[in-house]
Symmetry: C2
Subunit: 331 residues, 2 copies
């Protein structure tokens, strides 16, 4: 376990966050259980503020800043849900925010960040270009950069989603044998590892085929840089797992899975038709791994983190057309 971080870090984060994050519902999904062969406990972070778990880490991290730091404003770089999360946190704390986004960011994401009152700086199309832009702003304003995943406050904040899930399952008189978590930079799974420490719940990572930085790093015993291949799971395309995230995951993750776009697309449609939830491809990846079967250790009760619901309407429509008939007929 990383120095200074443990289950209590997540419990403390939950206390600090209080009602600023939504306690999203934990939903048993009986309709998919015959197919999954296990009890399915879904944590619907798609219903979190800004439609993704990222609100937890950002609100926690910004809440931990000093008055002096807040006065200088906050900065981040993101093509996705973290941008909205930081904009939300800035608004919540009355702090100014500058966010570096790619020039080809989808209009829906740009509008959402703007609607929350953050300033946007457009910078190239790659993550390094956005990072450079953030550093340039920092040089000018002296503001604090809110990292997307590689930071103790972000990790502890994301861990609160798993803490709630475990609490809800315990309240129903049960406990999870396994928890499957989609992995981008590793913020959600590092938090999940901390939350599950000592509980007996095994944590598994799920990544798209060709984007398996965590699986490769775990196999190698050190962080591996990957060039992410194409996938519809646009939130799960890191070049590298965060350093702190990997240190925590290495000590705790029980195994890793990869899923392809076909499996992810089918999981999106299964969630829409059976669980009645709109979940983005990145958010459905962990369910895709469960539905593929072959979970080790014959778990009876399985938790699944549905990490977000921000999918473009045309993408959701396309997947419904492609997989809807099979889903309905049970093929």
């Amino acid at each position: 376990m990383a120095p200074g971080m443990d289950r209590n870090s997540v419990i403390a984060a939950a206390e600090r966050l209080g009602t600023s994050v939504r306690r999203t519902p934990t939903l048993r999904c009986e309709a998919l259980e015959p197919r999954a062969g296990v009890e399915l406990w879904l944590k619907a972070e798609s219903l979190q503020h800004i439609g993704a778990f990222k609100a937890r880490g950002a609100l926690h991290a910004v809440g931990r800043l000093s008055e002096d730091e807040r006065r200088r404003g906050i900065i981040t770089y993101s093509s996705g849900n973290h941008a909205q999360a930081v904009a939300l946190a800035a608004r919540a704390y009355g702090v100014s925010a500058d966010i570096a986004m790619p020039v080809d960011a989808p209009r829906i994401k740009v509008e959402a960040v703007r609607a929350l009152g953050a300033r946007i700086v457009f910078a190239g199309t790659t993550s390094p270009e956005r990072h450079q832009a953030a550093l340039a702003i920092q040089e000018h304003t002296g503001g604090v950069i809110i990292e997307p995943f590689d930071h103790p406050d972000i990790i502890a904040g994301q861990g609160t989603a798993t803490l709630e899930l475990l609490e809800d399952v315990a309240r129903a008189g049960a406990s999870l044998d396994a928890l499957l978590v989609p992995v981008g930079g590793g913020g959600l799974i590092a938090g999940a590892c901390l939350a599950c420490a000592g509980t007996g719940t095994r944590v598994y990572s799920v990544e798209p085929v060709g984007c398996d930085a965590m699986a490769q790093s775990l196999a190698r015993g050190e962080r591996v840089s990957v060039t992410p291949g194409p996938t519809i799971a646009d939130g799960l395309k890191p070049n590298m797992i965060g350093a702190l995230n990997f240190a925590i995951a290495r000590a705790h993750v029980a195994g890793s899975f990869t899923v392809d776009d076909e499996q992810i697309g089918r999981a999106v449609v299964a969630l829409a038709m059976r669980a009645k939830l709109v979940v983005e491809p990145s958010g459905a990846a962990a369910l895709a791994a469960v539905l593929a079967g072959n979970l080790p250790g014959k778990p009876r009760r399985v938790g699944v983190l549905l990490s977000g619901g921000n999918v473009a309407p045309e993408r959701l429509a396309e997947l419904l057309v492609r997989h809807g008939a099979d889903e309905v007929s049970g093929a």
Copy 2:
């Protein structure tokens, strides 16, 4: 108010139902509030067992039967969610169920009823044909017909959805000024009226244009028979409001709205993209009325019953394609 039915009927139903129904989440939808001009409190009955509030009434009604009645089995007639609800209740109580469905029932609904273990009798395409088939089965088996809406136990059961919504809003330190409810036969709204009695929350009915049996009946002061016009809200096409349902509604409903298919379709897409919920057209009708504006009495906090989520994938895809771009651009 109808003789013998009041708020306590709903409270008693909630106690009897206990955990056999799911306490569905109440979700504030900040993302749609600027457009709605009010605080929006969504009750997501789309996340109820079988994907609709109908599970409440059916489980309550079957739970109230005597041992002798249960031994003879139960019967119902439905083209929609009530069929699944009765099949679920029959399984829960270990009772046999015969369900008359139309010969042109969608395959997904037929499979869902069958998967729950009920027997299906196909009977014509109209409601009177299905009702006749149910009566014929009853003559043979002596079983009890579980009415779809016009029965005290069904109404009290459906009312528990509103009771939970009011409790959740109160727990957040607030109270609803208005509640909008989609109306088919009137089970959900009659239960809502009972649950809201004496609370100060005004109840409004919402129906598709051309299917406004409630609005016409309220205007006339007596039940009016309508020939429902075409609408994508296939659960809101009654010929006539139930007698008990109308007696309760007449004493309590503060006003009525109609919405067209364009408005309903936009509401389905708004819910998918902003609230991340899959809601069927019938279930989105009440939100459509809120988004149309013009709610009387300048309510500040408005509750919306999202009655169900059972939509065919091709219908949802079609609506996303038609209205998705406008939803994303805010047009």
